[in-house]
């Protein structure tokens, strides 16, 4: 069958592929000729923001990526960190924002599928998933549709592949109205000496295609197909959303891990964004080799596919292997056992050239290094946005202090951002694999590592309101809070991954936010000596000129040397003492209190003293490791009152009241609802009081005794005056109901 004629390459359709004229001239210069249509398609995806990081690379260099535990830093499918006992933790976070807006169910589902492949590609068995979700105004009917679709998509995919989804965050804000964010994280564990990389070395070795057949789904950007060369009906027939098949993914996981027990695997990479193109080019480039592919051999789901379509398809659940020559049949046998297609589609050469044929005809002949490494690196201008000055000031004098706190506490507990998230996580299988020592509902989830005594604590965090008000400090706090969540569970952070969700990088104000946020993450990671080993950048999250708040989502992995020494956030026993570690300042800028009560997104973001923060975490872990405390809960959104209330009723088995007495010279609202950083609420049996106070003292951390666990109420006396008195069951209901009702 002759190939259908390709569109001619001219200025109009260069733009339709998302390339600029200077980029095209650069391509002509690199090749010394005009590229053909298929080749141009390859450049368009390889030089896209998504694959080339052209706007972000200069800034990402500011992140610390090295450390004694780092086995693999950024640049591969996922980061790898040594956890001892011959094991490594493999993890990464990725965004699937745009697809989830177009089709929430499939968009979120394929997001999970993609991040899982990034992990098992490295030779690791995925053992936990997290997700970080952001939606627009909850009053808009579409928001509810998106929330349900996304949660359902994550649940369907993750439950079917059998990887537990153990935590995450859900946040609503107007700024996400037309740009919801869906970020998914996966953690895997592998043997340190069995890590696989995306290499294509060894001339003569075979390139093996494994997994689902290639269809026309998700061919990069509908924009590209809407070029005048195609008629209207072509587009209608070509859905741009990919459909996930978690069943095939499950087979791929098992088959790949089985194949990886053999020594004939040279390299492996999943066909993610830009499908066969990016996987083949990147693998060859890493090894400095060439590759020859026969596209006619690619298993196809539809007839009449062109080379352009085959190369740019983003059909899901596909992997590319390079295996040693002579082991093809052995490899195929394993994949056949799992009912998966496995076809040799080409060989490794020593030419440095990607040569592709279809039906015997040469359709691509490109120098690999030029395609992969010559993407323009931009140093985009940055400019501090004007709004920053305006929002930074907050005159506390015009806000009268609170006389009583029940009303505000209930208001905060009811707000969707603080309310119970179990409506979502009860739809996720969070126990499969029987490793989940701490289930969702506490600060960080804790996952045991079988065959060792260790466990890993994981948490994902970002307060984007802080980042809007002050991107540097907001990003610092995102990392600090993430580490604090891990400390509250008993872990010490050993690696971080980040998903940087921002607006249009062509605007200097957005690039400024980006630059500041990256510096903020780098600052805290440096101080804590925690390397950033993987990540993802998602730009252009803006609609009609309105950008999202800067949302640098971070996820960290913490190590517990002894898996039995983990801790949860809820009170355990009536009669236990409650205390606060850390210092409360008169800070209410950027709080949920201001936002929910006064509809204000304003003020200075809480201060962060990273030295103090680290001392606090060390103390908290020490208390947990010595079995001195019963609970530890980080004090964040909603402040001290919310943290105490959550410790009363977020436990799976019982609800307990608490009696709190506090004396302080700062404002009541700041004391109870302010969001000063570096604070942890702990509870402990009275006989541990002296030891704890001594250790806290030695650690140089502030300590305030708060009260006692028990009773049916939450009562708070401030400076001998009753500030809160409410039935704990009433508060619990206020917190439990909203998302359940909303998600329905």
């Amino acid at each position: 069958m002759p190939l259908p004629p390709s569109p001619l390459v001219n200025i109009d359709n260069i733009e339709s592929l998302g390339l600029t004229l200077p980029e095209f001239e650069r391509i002509q210069h690199l090749l010394g000729r005009n590229p053909n249509w298929t080749e141009l398609g390859i450049f368009s995806v390889m030089w896209s923001e998504h694959c080339s990081y052209k706007s972000s690379k200069v800034h990402l260099k500011n992140l610390p990526t090295e450390g004694p535990r780092v086995v693999q830093g950024p640049g591969e499918n996922a980061g790898v960190v040594d956890i001892g006992d011959g094991k490594v933790a493999v993890f990464k976070i990725e965004s699937h924002n745009h697809p989830s807006f177009v089709e929430p169910f499939q968009g979120a589902a394929t997001g999970v599928g993609g991040i899982l492949r990034d992990i098992f590609t490295m030779g690791a068995r995925p053992i936990a998933l997290l997700n970080s979700l952001r939606f627009g105004d909850p009053e808009e009917p579409r928001t509810r549709y998106l929330l349900r679709g996304v949660v359902n998509g994550i649940s369907s995919y993750g439950n079917c592949v059998g990887v537990p989804n153990v935590g995450g965050e859900i946040n609503f804000d107007f700024c996400y109205d037309n740009n919801n964010l869906v970020n998914v994280f996966c953690l895997g564990v592998a043997d340190k000496d069995r890590i696989f990389l995306g290499n294509a070395s060894g001339v003569g070795n075979s390139v093996l295609y494994v997994g689902s057949k290639t269809g026309r789904d998700g061919i990069h950007g509908a924009s590209l197909l809407a070029s005048s060369e195609f008629d209207e009906t072509t587009e209608a027939k070509r859905p741009t959303v990919q459909v996930g098949d978690p069943f095939t993914e499950k087979l791929l996981i098992e088959a790949c891990l089985e194949a990886m027990e053999h020594d004939w695997i040279v390299g492996i990479q999943d066909m993610g964004a830009a499908g066969l193109t990016s996987s083949s080019f990147e693998m060859a480039d890493r090894s400095g080799t060439g590759v020859e592919l026969d596209l006619s051999k690619v298993p196809m789901r539809e007839t009449g596919m062109t080379p352009f379509e085959i190369l740019l398809s983003e059909s899901q659940e596909r992997m590319l292997f390079v295996i040693e020559k002579g082991h093809e049949e052995e490899a195929k046998k394993i994949f056949e056992k799992w009912d998966l297609d496995a076809v040799v589609i080409g060989q490794v050469t020593d030419t440095g050239v990607m040569r592709m044929t279809m039906e015997g005809e040469e359709v691509v002949n490109l120098p690999i290094h030029a395609v992969v490494e010559s993407a323009p690196q931009l140093v985009r201008p940055t400019k501090k946005p004007n709004y920053i000055e305006a929002v930074d000031t907050l005159n506390l004098n015009i806000i009268p202090d609170l006389e009583r706190g029940e009303g505000i506490l209930k208001l905060l507990l009811k707000s969707l951002n603080i309310a119970d998230k179990s409506w979502a996580y009860k739809q996720y299988d969070h126990m499969v694999g029987i490793n989940t020592l701490v289930m969702p509902g506490s600060d960080a989830a804790v996952i045991r590592v079988k065959e060792t005594n260790k466990a890993l604590a994981i948490s994902v965090d970002c307060n984007s309101r802080y980042c809007h008000l002050n991107p540097f400090r907001g990003a610092q706090i995102a990392v600090a809070e993430c580490f604090r969540n891990i400390a509250c569970s008993g872990g010490v952070p050993i690696g971080l991954t980040n998903c940087l969700n921002f607006g249009n990088p062509e605007k200097p104000e957005i690039m400024w936010q980006f630059e500041q946020a990256v510096l903020g993450i780098g600052n805290v990671c440096n101080y804590f000596s925690v390397p950033v080993v993987s990540g993802n950048v998602s730009l252009y999250n803006e609609t009609k000129g309105k950008s999202i708040y800067p949302t640098p989502v971070v996820a960290a992995v913490g190590l517990l040397e002894d898996q039995t020494k983990h801790c949860t956030q809820w009170f355990k026993n009536p009669g236990d003492h409650i205390a606060l570690l850390g210092l409360t300042l008169e800070e209410i800028g950027g709080t949920d209190y201001l936002e929910n009560y006064l509809d204000l997104c304003q003020g200075s973001v809480p201060a962060l003293d990273i030295k103090y923060e680290r001392m606090l975490h060390q103390l908290c872990v020490e208390l947990i490791q010595n079995d001195l405390i019963q609970s530890a809960h980080d004090c964040s959104e909603g402040g001290l009152a919310v943290a105490i209330a959550e410790s009363c009723f977020s436990g799976p088995n019982q609800t307990l009241g608490a009696t709190i007495e506090l004396k302080s010279s700062i404002r009541n609202d700041a004391l109870m609802f302010g969001e000063s950083q570096s604070r942890i609420v702990i509870s402990y049996s009275p006989d541990k009081k002296e030891v704890i106070e001594e250790r806290v003292n030695n650690a140089g951390i502030d300590f305030s005794s708060l009260g006692i666990v028990g009773g049916n109420d939450l009562t708070v006396q401030l400076n001998d005056k009753e500030f809160i008195k409410e039935k704990i069951s009433t508060l619990e209901e206020a917190w439990r109901e909203p998302l359940k009702r909303y998600g329905g």
């Binding site: 177009v102 089709e103 169910f105 499939q106 689902s212 269809g215 026309r216 789904d217 027939k237 070509r238 859905p239 959303v241 990919q242 459909v243 996930g244 098949d245 069943f247 095939t248 789901r301 539809e302 059909s315 899901q316 009912d339």
Partner: protein, 82 residues
Amino acid sequence: MLAKIHVTLKDGVLDTQGKAVHHALNDLGYEEVQGVNLGKYVEVQLDGLSQAEAEDRVREMCQKLLANPVIESYRFTLDSQE
């Protein structure tokens, strides 16, 4: 009036269920099976509408709720006897 609605995946959209059923039927010895598509069949009982009104309303229901326009198409017939 009874609306009989068929909702099916658009061409080119991966039909994971259809694929699985196709394999299963082949494995069971039905080698004559060349392809399987799985869709939804919805019957909606309607009251007090004219044929023309019903047509508009059912089309709307399909677009808004019964089908996912991004990946599915729908068609329906109206049966007035019932």
